[in-house]
């Protein structure tokens, strides 16, 4: 069970979403979502497959446009920004993709260098190399620096993906199913990494998952997406202290033996 991060600042919202709706053709995925993320907080978003969890964070990062609603990230309304302003905002957001999305024609080193050469032009090669070594050390994969993504395991790819987003020192981290498809021990490593990132880089994060062990290990607060809306929120135990069958089912089937 996670001990609450003492540095959470409830008076400062880094993300505020109100009345977010999103449909694909006639299929309504998000039906009025409200959400706040506070400074320094790890917020876990739980939900079954296909409930629109990935869609939600893609809207936050400006990859998809909302149909309705207000999406405020670090004081700016994402869907009202010009491409330039959006890019400036995106530098403060780290996005860890569900399947890592490493550039598979590039080595690990080049993957990490890619954002650096473009956005920290003032850095010389020596400084860049130091940055790269530092994030690789933070995710515990210093030895993989010259490997190709295809040579890495799923868990290693996840960690390199996280390293690639950390390298620009984002204020917000968005993790899309960081532990999906990983064994329990590797999952725990990733959970520890997420908490370590929160402490060491003082980030605020949204962690999307349907892995309850992960939710319990990293979440300062948990919300549950059901039927296109957030139905429950609170600490892990608060969320599951309910008579709502759909929420209970989620819990029971996760720990079935």
């Amino acid at each position: 069970m996670k001990t609450l991060n003492p540095k959470i600042d409830k008076s400062s919202k880094v993300i505020a979403i109100e009345g977010l709706k999103k449909a694909f053709d006639d299929f309504e995925v998000l039906k009025g979502v409200d959400l706040e993320l506070y400074q320094g907080e790890n917020l876990v978003v739980l939900g079954r497959s296909g409930t629109g969890k990935s869609v939600l964070i893609k809207i936050i990062a400006g990859l998809l446009r909302p149909d309705e609603g207000m999406i405020n990230v670090l004081g700016q309304e994402v869907d009202r920004l010009t491409p330039k302003e959006l890019d400036r905002l995106r530098l403060k957001i780290g996005f860890s993709f569900q399947n890592s999305a490493l550039y598979d024609s590039m080595t690990v080193y080049e993957n990490l260098e890619f954002p650096l050469v473009r956005h920290m032009k003032e850095l010389g090669k020596a400084d860049r190399d130091r940055s790269i070594e530092e994030v690789l050390e933070a995710v515990g994969l210093s030895q993989s620096i010259n490997q190709m993504p295809s040579e890495l395991s799923g868990g290693q790819r996840k960690r390199i993906g996280i390293a690639r987003t950390l390298i620009l020192r984002p204020e917000i981290m968005l993790y899309d199913e960081p532990t999906a498809g990983l064994d329990p021990i590797t999952s725990m490593d990733i959970n520890n990494l997420i908490n370590e990132v929160q402490r060491r880089f003082n980030t605020s994060s949204i962690i999307i998952t349907h892995d309850l062990t992960c939710a319990r290990a990293v979440g300062d607060r948990v919300v549950m997406l059901l039927d296109g809306q957030f139905q429950r929120q609170g600490t892990f135990d608060e969320v599951f202290a309910t008579t709502d069958e759909r929420v209970k089912a989620f819990y029971n089937y996760n720990f079935i033996d």
Partner: protein, 250 residues
């Protein structure tokens, strides 16, 4: 019908975006050079073989008709006109559609499917600029260069055949080759191969960049990149032929 117009509108938007972004920094020189190498140098073996064989075969097959007229002395001129005006640009473009166009379609398609393009976008790097502009520039520059090379190799193939049968010397052969073609031939072939190169890059990128999700999306993107590019190249060939004929005053 609606779908066709939607598709046309999105193709138009894609091409327009290319012209908007090609002149705007940042310029990805390293990636452009890498792509030029990929398109140009890596196509050389296939192009060399095909060009040379086409030169030999075409010369060999043309001989009997000319021999009937007692005009085999005209073979170098005939080969020259056929290769410079028509065969070299077309063969190069078709081979490149198959090799380069499908490669671009598959590569960008799989980057789309595995969210690498999204990853670039959220790291505030313009994926269109990095992926599409560089590849289209590379094909537009390298296909004309390859065409010149194909022309040369095919002429050499023709020469090998002629020198064996008519015992023509290299200098005589090339004097006749150059006498037969005009400045307009060279210009129109160059312009044509620039257009072909642009088409191959653009179609490959469009299909890959807009690939549908799933692994089957990648295959479809690669496949339709080749088919569409070849189709467009034949249409363009016909249109350019009309223009050139008008310029020649035929």
């Amino acid at each position: 019908m609606d779908r066709i117009f939607m598709e046309l509108a999105s193709i138009y938007a894609f091409v327009a975006r290319f012209f908007r972004e090609v002149f705007v920094p940042p310029y990805e020189f390293r990636e452009i050079i890498r792509q030029c190498y990929e398109v140009g140098v890596r196509s050389l073996p296939l192009i060399s073989l095909t060009g040379f064989i086409i030169g030999i075969v075409f010369t060999n097959q043309s001989r009997p008709s000319l021999a009937d007229l007692g005009a085999t002395a005209l073979l170098p001129a005939l080969i020259s006109v056929a290769i410079v005006r028509a065969m070299a640009p077309l063969v190069t473009a078709l081979i490149a559609s198959g090799r380069v166009g499908s490669g671009i379609g598959a590569e960008l398609g799989s980057m789309r499917v595995t969210e690498q393009i999204d990853a670039m976008e959220v790291s505030a790097t313009n994926p269109f600029n990095f992926l599409v502009v560089t590849r289209v520039l590379a094909t537009t520059l390298m296909i004309p260069a390859l065409t010149m090379y194909t022309t040369f190799v095919a002429l050499m193939g023709g020469f090998v055949n002629v020198s064996q049968n008519e015992l023509t010397s290299l200098t005589t052969f090339f004097t006749q080759v150059f006498d037969a073609i005009t400045f307009l031939d060279i210009i129109s072939s160059s312009v044509k191969s620039v257009i072909f190169g642009f088409t191959i890059g653009m179609v490959g990128c469009y299909k890959g960049y807009n690939s549908s999700k799933g692994t089957e999306g990648v295959g479809k993107a690669a496949n339709s990149a080749v088919v569409t590019a070849m189709f467009l190249i034949f249409i363009e060939e016909l249109l350019i032929l009309q223009v050139v004929n008008a310029l020649r005053g035929i």
